[in-house]
């Protein structure tokens, strides 16, 4: 079990599991997946414009819990993740600032576009929303172009 979880599952298995979550939310509570919405509702609650926390916050808490469960199951607390290429290039302080700036663009941009990779990319495209196709094409193209440009310049 431990070894199985350390290797990436085949893409079609992972894709089916993600579809299970998207369709599952629709079939049980008639809602469309979205992670940014959870972040947004927390801000709205803190600002006093929302009286209570909605299902999106509970979904967000679940995603955090899912990450914790994986770390527990694979004994990998701290994450099997890295920003080594970034910290090597711009140092830890530079990386931290880059992440806060990047996160700010993510929050503002995804709110403007009405969803993030899950809300537009997986959920919106999954129900055939043309706005989601356009938003997804925009963020994919920009992210790939920016990454390739930086690699080319560096």
């Amino acid at each position: 079990m431990h070894d199985l979880l350390l290797d990436r599952p085949p893409w079609y298995v992972a894709g089916a599991l993600v579809a299970f979550v998207v369709v599952g939310l629709m079939a049980t509570i008639n809602e469309r997946i979205g992670v940014l919405g959870g972040f947004s509702q927390l801000v709205e609650r803190a600002e006093g414009v929302r009286p209570s926390l909605g299902w999106k916050v509970w979904f967000l808490f679940g995603v955090i819990g899912g990450g914790a469960l994986y770390a527990l199951a694979t004994d990998s607390w701290g994450g099997r993740a890295s920003y080594a290429w970034l910290t090597d290039a711009i140092g830890p302080v530079g990386t931290g600032l880059m992440l806060v700036a990047g996160g700010t663009l993510i929050g503002f941009g995804a709110k403007t576009a009405g969803g993030c990779t899950s809300g537009n990319g997986i959920g919106g495209c999954g129900v055939g929303s043309r706005a989601s196709y356009v938003a997804t094409a925009s963020f994919m193209a920009t992210a790939i172009a920016a990454t390739l440009l930086v690699r080319w310049l560096a």
Binding site: V18, V23, I29, F61, G66
Partner: protein, 147 residues
């Protein structure tokens, strides 16, 4: 029950994001550098399965198990904001090699850098909401109030 169900599906989602490596920024960096097709194939699989399943749910006039409402969804026509917002989000995605779902999974995994990105997301959302309020006040001719 709705909260528990949402949290349950969230746990599955966070677990899958972690297991597939989508919560690992170095893997997303490879994805955006076009060095791996895995995330694209994963998304394509998920979208096609969801398109099929939602068509079946609509054709069968299915009702949501817990809320008993007919399963339905709205779709939007593309507007300028989808292109502009999408592009800004894409830039942030490239800078952090992460997006909201993976950031949440990173927090669960105890990956500290996720805190920086999460902080940024809160700031970005707050700026958006403040701007929205200010614009609404402008349209009604009232001075914006600090909440």
């Amino acid at each position: 029950m709705i909260r528990a169900t949402a949290a349950g599906f969230g746990i599955v989602f966070g677990f899958v994001l972690s297991w597939t490596g989508l919560a690992d920024p170095s893997f997303i960096h490879k994805m955006l550098s076009l060095q791996t097709a895995y995330p694209y194939l994963l998304m394509a699989t998920s979208i096609s399965l969801t398109l099929t399943a939602t068509r079946l749910l609509a054709r069968g006039r299915a009702h949501a198990v817990l809320t008993h409402e007919p399963v339905q969804w709205s779709t939007l026509k593309p507007e300028r904001r989808h292109v502009i917002g999408g592009s800004l989000f894409g830039l942030g995605w490239a800078m952090s090699s992460a997006c909201p779902g993976p950031v949440a999974a990173q927090l669960g995994q105890g990956f500290g850098w996720g805190l920086c990105t999460a902080l940024g997301i809160f700031v970005g959302v707050r700026v958006f909401l403040r701007r929205e309020v200010a614009q609404a006040h402008q349209q009604t001719g009232l001075a914006p109030q600090a909440p």
